[in-house]
Symmetry: C2
Subunit: 396 residues, 2 copies
DNA sequence: CCTTCTTTCTCCACACACAGGACAAAGTCT
DNA sequence: AGACTTTGTCCTGTGTGTGGAGAAAGAAGG
């Protein structure tokens, strides 16, 4: 079970590994140009990496007018596990060293069932993926949880929506079970890393990634690095006030963003509209289902239901209010919107954009794209794999 | 006039220079411990710095039980110029290499008179300081302007309160005139750097520095470095909405923070209260002066005028609303409040604190000090000196 | 006054990292 | 077959940095 993955011996090797991860296979010559090292020095480091087995040379590339080059690539047997624990479901993915998703499982589950039950589920999903032949073992695992994390220790702290997890040694426990290095982070941060690695945020240094799920959170990337704040709670925008005397929120205050717009708030509003007979479509859905969800609203909007559309527009306006403030403050180069309710899609986006462009300073919005995430439900798991690969591909 | 200041040849020398700047004089042995270099290597670098004249060895330190050490310190003739251009006044300071203020001048002037007039004033103030024997020439100058700056080029961009400065090559022009390296930044960022170097924010990695002057801005420090955003407008929080259908703002929107609370808004409110006869104190002040200012309100509050106190409390509440949102989002380790109206002092602070502690998440506010800046009007100039010293003390 | 112990600073030999050129290998193109 | 290209290896020179052996300068104690 335990698998001793080699680690790079120095920063050069670490850089090479990350380069191979992000750009795929390469010849020695190309690598030399990219890292700005002499061919001789580079050859030495590559040879050492070959010895440790972290990279392999498989076959020759077609000639480009001279001697054919060897393909240097990361060991094809390397496997990372990406785990994204949401409020109501768990995503687990297996990736290769290039962070391509080889297999992906999703399982509905409430985080509030506590760390023990959730862990059991995660491990069984990991085992299933392994049993299907996708991996013999894992060289690292990243895991995201829906709440603030003390990052260096990998421990959730005072998570509002997941009581019972407070102080649970997630990193320690998972590392023990899987026999490999583990890193823990907030799910929103991982989504940001996912979009940065393989999604819309490639090549953007400073950006925000707003995730709308049961609650609302925001990943902050500064200079290519996730910013986590002093106590790990940065990006917790769900309880920013949008209406001085607005709706009562579970947190005890009034007018919080989450009270006015989030997956949960949207479902509540939809149910109310259905009961009050304002929307025939939603009322019909409520007949068949026990409860309405954000997805119900998506479906209704897609079917052209005016009440659903209005709910989304109104929500987008609220969200836009907050994002407008953040854009003025943070002046990002990109705003990504993602999470479970991306089904709300362009209606939501249009509403947010209108609000932001109207309310933020021209200098900050001048060249500011506001877009939907392009990785969908896999974003978190990919980000998790990215997180642990950054760790594994750094000097021991 | 032109003064060729030597520059460090490598990062070791740069680190040594900054260490000497921040910690004052030191022996070679102490330096060796601090930089984690062998004594031999260190001796070489120090000798080279001595040759270039950037540092000097003056005298022997008292023995600590063995051979007495040489005092290594930055050249006592080094001089930095710190310039802080506010909306309505100019501050100019001369510092030594340790960034201690040797002389300081202040002159009221409206930025809107344009770059040419302001420059003339700045140069004459610098000349006056030099004439008084504080400096023979300058080894670098930092300058802050009240608006967004394209930092790498040192050029203001689309500054709302200082039209006429847009695109003016501040860095280029000042460097030409003074014959030394120049760096330009937003005044708020400089205040943050000042408080970080010599004020309340020493040893805090991530913090916010809110400056209340004619407008309102916020310096953002991430991992000890000022964050400027994609287009240099980060921290521009004056136009975040605090009241959906609030007061009309000069920017064209409604309910902006600056419309409800800032030096200018405060003065306006005070005048109105005076005219409506709600405050005898303020009315009396309006008799003698042409117009009321934020300082008038400070004085009234100090004298116990209830209307002034209420204005400040109300303003603090507005400011607190915005800061509460920023604290949730950014999760800083400290919030500093400064600027011209620090005279409002603890009344304002109390009001802000109440609002923030009530409205932000406990995890973010748990151990969050909210304090007044301790450098007063010199903060900007010190920050400016710090900015340019960081530049001069880095490899060419 | 002399000895011993400390601290500071200097000098020197050695290890290591890295660059850059020469050269061999393996191609393509004419 | 010969000229030219690209890739990869080998070797040597150079500059960076470490660590140890002292020398210098002083304190404390007998």
């Amino acid at each position: 079970m335990r698998r001793m993955t080699a680690r790079p011996e120095n920063t050069h090797q670490a850089r090479l590994l990350r380069l191979l991860r992000d750009n795929g296979s390469n010849s020695r010559a190309q690598l030399g140009d990219l890292v700005d090292l002499s061919r001789s020095k580079l050859a030495v480091e590559v040879d050492r990496l070959l010895e440790t087995g972290l990279v392999v040379a498989d076959g020759l590339a077609p000639s480009r007018g001279g001697r054919r080059s060897h393909n240097i690539r990361l060991a094809p047997t390397l496997r990372f596990l990406g785990v994204d624990i949401g409020a109501t479901s768990i995503d687990v993915a297996v990736t290769n060293a290039e962070l391509e998703v080889l297999g992906h499982l999703n399982h509905p589950m409430d985080v509030r069932e506590g760390p023990v039950a959730v862990f059991e589920q995660v491990l069984s999903m990991a085992a299933k993926l392994r049993a299907s032949g996708l991996a013999e073992g894992f060289d690292g695992a990243g895991i995201g949880v829906p709440g603030p994390v003390r990052f260096p220790e990998g421990v959730p702290v005072a998570p509002p929506i997941m009581p019972g997890w407070d102080g649970f040694p997630v990193r320690e426990a998972l590392s023990q079970e899987l026999g490999c290095p583990v890193m823990v982070d907030n799910d929103v941060n991982l989504m940001a890393m996912g979009e940065q690695h393989a999604g819309v945020a490639r090549s953007v240094g400073d950006f925000l990634c707003v995730k709308i799920g049961t609650g609302i959170g925001c990943g902050i990337v500064v200079g290519g690095e996730v910013y986590r704040g002093t106590t790990g709670s940065a990006g917790d925008i769900g309880h920013i006030q949008v209406e001085p005397e607005g709706r009562a929120c579970a947190c005890g205050n009034r007018g919080c963003l989450e009270a006015h717009f989030s997956g949960a708030a949207l479902a509540r509003d939809a149910e109310q509209a259905a009961r009050e007979g304002r929307s025939a479509y939603l009322a019909a859905r409520l007949e068949t289902a026990e409860r309405l969800t954000a997805e119900s609203v998506s479906a209704a909007a897609a079917a052209g239901d005016p009440v659903a559309l209005e709910l989304i527009r109104e929500g987008g306006k609220r969200l836009g209010q907050v994002i407008a403030g953040l854009v003025s403050f943070f002046n990002p180069g990109l705003v990504v919107i993602g999470g479970g309710v991306t089904g709300l899609g362009h209606t939501l986006l249009a509403s947010v954009r209108t609000q932001v462009y109207r309310q933020s300073l021209p200098l900050a919005t001048g060249n500011l794209p506001i877009v939907l995430g392009e990785l969908g439900p896999a974003a978190g798991a990919i980000g998790a794999a990215r997180l642990i690969s950054d760790h594994v591909f750094s000097p021991a």
